[in-house]
């Protein structure tokens, strides 16, 4: 390994961005899916679904880029982590099938509309929970020998990972509520703001609990945060997070329409940074660093050329499509 001109940091940033885009974008439409079950009536459900119908598919595509990006940049990590979370991944995929098909089947299979309504809501909820379990399992680490995961397929289910599952559900619900505040108005927006406040309480509690629980299960993480001078340098992370919680509460109460969504995104950014600080520079916690798990330089370089050209193009036309479908979704736009 020549240390000069390593592409690993570049790929780390790209992969981190792809995963974050997935979490932020599919996060809000999974959140809308979870809130869907609590919608007051069918008109409201139609609005909720129409608010994400044109864009959910593009949002979910970041999941593919995230998984394939992990395989491309850090194949060893992919080969260890994914089999270790065999059942959460399966649960997520099957849940996403129901969630994704409900958009069409709710109308095309109208006799079973209630079934597909539930498929949409519970599909979103299970997918969010499963992703949270994956996150929790990732933080707590895996049983690895050589280049393989050697634990059982059920090791990933622990109280901690179950808690992170619920935590991510709260976070996605908060993002979803923020999205709905942007896309709706009147009584429905008030409803979204009210649910958003409940989701915020859950999210804030979850962030606090995970922040305390994580150092307890791993002494390295405890040392990373609580040793001097780290404790002083890293102090802004919890402080900014606390400030964002306050901002989010205020903006859900009476802030401008875009504020709750931005505040929720801010909370995700801070949580994301917190996890990154805890685990850096490991990609398979406790076993392999980013450098050790990286793909061959030729592999990284070959895909990087295209990524640097195509990713800005993708971001451009994704932004354009959001602009095309901008503005409030009216209740009657589904009834012409």
């Amino acid at each position: 390994m020549t240390p000069t001109l390593s592409l690993v940091p570049v790929w780390t940033v790209i992969l981190a961005l792809a995963v974050f885009f997935y979490v932020a974008l599919d996060g809000f439409d999974l959140g809308v899916g979870m809130l869907y079950n609590f919608a007051p009536d069918r008109r409201a459900r139609d609005v909720l679904m129409n608010s994400i119908a044109p864009i959910w598919d593009g949002n979910e595509t970041w999941l593919i880029l995230g998984s394939v990006g992990l395989l491309a940049a850090f194949p060893l990590a992919f080969a260890i982590i994914i089999p270790a979370v065999y059942f959460p991944i399966l649960l997520m995929l099957l849940a996403l099938i129901f969630r994704g098909l409900a958009f069409e089947f709710r109308y095309r299979d109208a006799e079973h509309r209630t079934f597909w309504d539930h498929g949409f809501a519970y599909g979103s909820a299970f997918a969010a929970f499963a992703q949270g379990v994956v996150l929790g399992a990732f933080i707590q680490g895996f049983h690895v020998e050589g280049r393989h995961y050697v634990g059982s397929s059920f090791d990933c289910f622990t109280p901690f990972s179950a808690f992170t599952g619920v935590a991510l559900m709260c976070g996605y619900a908060l993002l979803g509520a923020g999205w709905l505040v942007i896309k709706t108005d009147g009584a429905l927006q008030d409803w979204a703001r009210a649910l958003g406040r409940r989701a915020l309480i859950g999210t804030a509690l979850a962030i606090a609990v995970v922040s305390l629980w994580t150092p307890l299960i791993d002494s390295h993480i405890a040392a990373r945060w609580f040793s001097w001078p780290n404790i002083a340098v890293l102090a802004p992370v919890p402080l900014i997070t606390a400030g964002l919680v306050w901002f989010e509460w205020w903006s859900l109460d009476n802030g401008p329409d875009h504020a709750p969504f931005l505040g929720a995104l801010g909370l995700f950014v801070m949580s994301y940074c917190g996890i990154a600080i805890s685990l850096w520079p490991m990609i398979v916690p406790g076993h392999y660093t980013l450098d050790e798990a990286a793909a061959s330089e030729s592999t990284q370089a070959f895909l990087l050329v295209g990524t640097l050209i195509l990713l800005p193009v993708i971001l451009f036309y994704t932004g354009w499509s959001y602009w095309v479908f901008r503005g409030k979704v009216r209740a009657d736009s589904g009834y012409h």
Partner: protein, 465 residues
């Protein structure tokens, strides 16, 4: 009997990819057809093109949505069930999969949203561009995923260090020996599959007069297209077979049911290959014909299955029969197209009820041929995942217990058995209702609320904003 995680993982992969491939087999052709219809409308301004585009878009939305959600399952299979394959080959195949996502999936997903929901929100030209970009996305996806698959079938351009594959020449890896043939054969197969569906739907629409003009146009478009592409597909298929002879002789021997190689080998028409007895039971074969069409010489040398150790032979029975199913369907398709062309020349096409009914019956033929062909090539390359270099048995995730895979397989089976019948029925209903002529547009069809696609695409820009 202990549960074998390798076998169960193979069954699971076959199950999820088998169902998945039916959708690209349809949507890749349909995306191009819709772009053609949108282009036709942009050029001629004839409303019938718009009606047909709207009609097929509704069907496309369902099939594409199913393709997306079943497709996301696929890359994760490499990690969950085939992690040793992922670790060994990740350096070579991952950029190809990455380019598929970057060049295809985002393009398809984003512009499908515009295509379905944006007719009134973007200028007509942009709407046509969206249709073209969705079609380009589907083709780009085929390019990269078949490059990946072809490299696994005919691996070149790499070196092996400590049992793992490292890239040496990316051009060689992407344009590996079987790739051009596989790409042409598969994309052409998908186009033919879609065209047979359009043919059948056109025949139905015509017979039920909902409306006649739309049925006539679909029937003719499909028939002309098939008149070119079915013969072309037969030729490409033959070339692909010769490529297999050169690079995967064991697979070819299994296809031919040829146990004893040599000069002037016979062509096995039908029989029952017996893997343990190493011969075909009840076989009808034509002497020397095999050498003639494989090597273009009466005495050409062809390798037989016995030229390979028993543990390097694919399961002959499956490969032998799926290949014959595929070829049989090709002959059936040629007959259908020829009959249609004759009827059209005689001006009797629209009144030939028996032929229109046959068109409806045969509209699913392409799907059966795709599955049969896919099975031929995938089972035929066993026992390898990377042909000749990495065994399937050495590719599976080491942590998996047989019971884990059995559980996940059962869940996948259950879910797919729910969604496929519902999806098929939903698409059939759209066909039964038929294309809506622009003049007699009803906002609420059959008293039901419209799907978001219809509703939003008909909403005024002001209302939607």
């Amino acid at each position: 009997m202990p549960l074998d995680p390798v076998l169960l993982s193979r069954v699971q992969f076959a199950w999820v990819v088998g169902w998945h491939v039916l959708l690209p087999a349809f949507t890749i052709g349909l995306a191009s057809f819709i772009a053609f219809l949108e282009g036709g409308y942009a050029l001629t301004k004839r409303p019938i093109f718009l009606d047909l585009s709207q009609f097929w878009l509704r069907i496309f939305a369902i099939s594409f949505g199913m393709g997306v959600v079943t497709g996301i399952v696929m890359p994760f299979q490499l990690g969950t069930n085939w992690s040793r394959f992922a670790d060994d080959t990740g350096n070579v195949i991952s950029p190809l999969l990455g380019y598929e996502g970057l060049t295809a999936f985002f393009l398809e997903a984003t512009f499908l949203g515009v295509l379905l929901f944006g007719r009134k929100l973007v200028p007509p030209f942009m709407h046509f561009v969206a249709a073209v970009l969705v079609a380009v996305g589907t083709l780009s996806s085929s390019f990269w995923i078949l490059a990946t698959n072809s490299w696994m079938q005919t691996p070149v351009g790499h070196e092996i260090i400590d049992g793992r594959f490292f890239p040496q020449d990316w051009l060689e890896i992407v344009f590996n020996p079987s790739f051009p043939y596989r790409l042409a054969h598969t994309v052409s197969a998908f186009y033919v599959t879609t065209a047979f569906v359009v043919l059948g739907v056109g025949a139905y629409t015509l017979r039920r007069r909902r409306p006649v003009e739309h049925g006539r146009l679909m029937l003719r478009l499909a028939l002309w297209f098939l008149a070119i592409f079915v013969p072309v597909q037969v030729v490409i298929g033959d070339l692909h077979g010769l490529n297999t002879l050169a690079y995967q002789p064991a697979k070819l021997a299994a296809i031919e049911g040829l146990w004893d190689g040599g000069n002037g080998v016979p062509a096995s028409i039908i029989g029952w290959p017996d893997q343990t007895a190493e011969r075909n039971r009840g076989e009808i074969a034509i002497p020397r014909l095999g050498s003639l069409y494989l090597t273009h010489s009466w005495d050409g040398a062809v390798k037989g299955l016995k030229d390979f150790p028993a543990d390097q032979r694919p399961p002959v029975l499956i490969v032998y029969f799926t290949f014959r199913i595929m070829v049989g369907i090709a002959l059936l398709m040629l007959t259908m197209v020829a009959a249609g062309l004759v009827l059209m020349a005689q001006g009797r096409l629209d009144r030939a009820g028996w032929y229109l009914r046959l068109c409806q019956l045969t509209s699913c033929l392409g799907f059966i041929a795709v599955i049969a062909g896919w099975t031929t090539t995938e089972v035929g390359r066993q026992p390898w995942t990377v042909y000749g270099l990495l065994r399937t048995a050495d590719s599976v995730s080491p942590s998996l217990a047989g019971s884990d895979v059995l559980l996940s397989l059962l869940l996948c089976v259950a879910v797919y058995l729910v969604i496929y019948p519902v999806g098929l029925l939903a698409m059939l209903r759209i066909v039964w209702r038929g294309p809506v002529s622009t003049e007699e547009l009803e906002p609420i069809a059959a008293g039901r609320h419209m799907a978001p696609i219809e509703a939003l695409s008909r909403a005024t820009p002001e209302a939607a904003r």
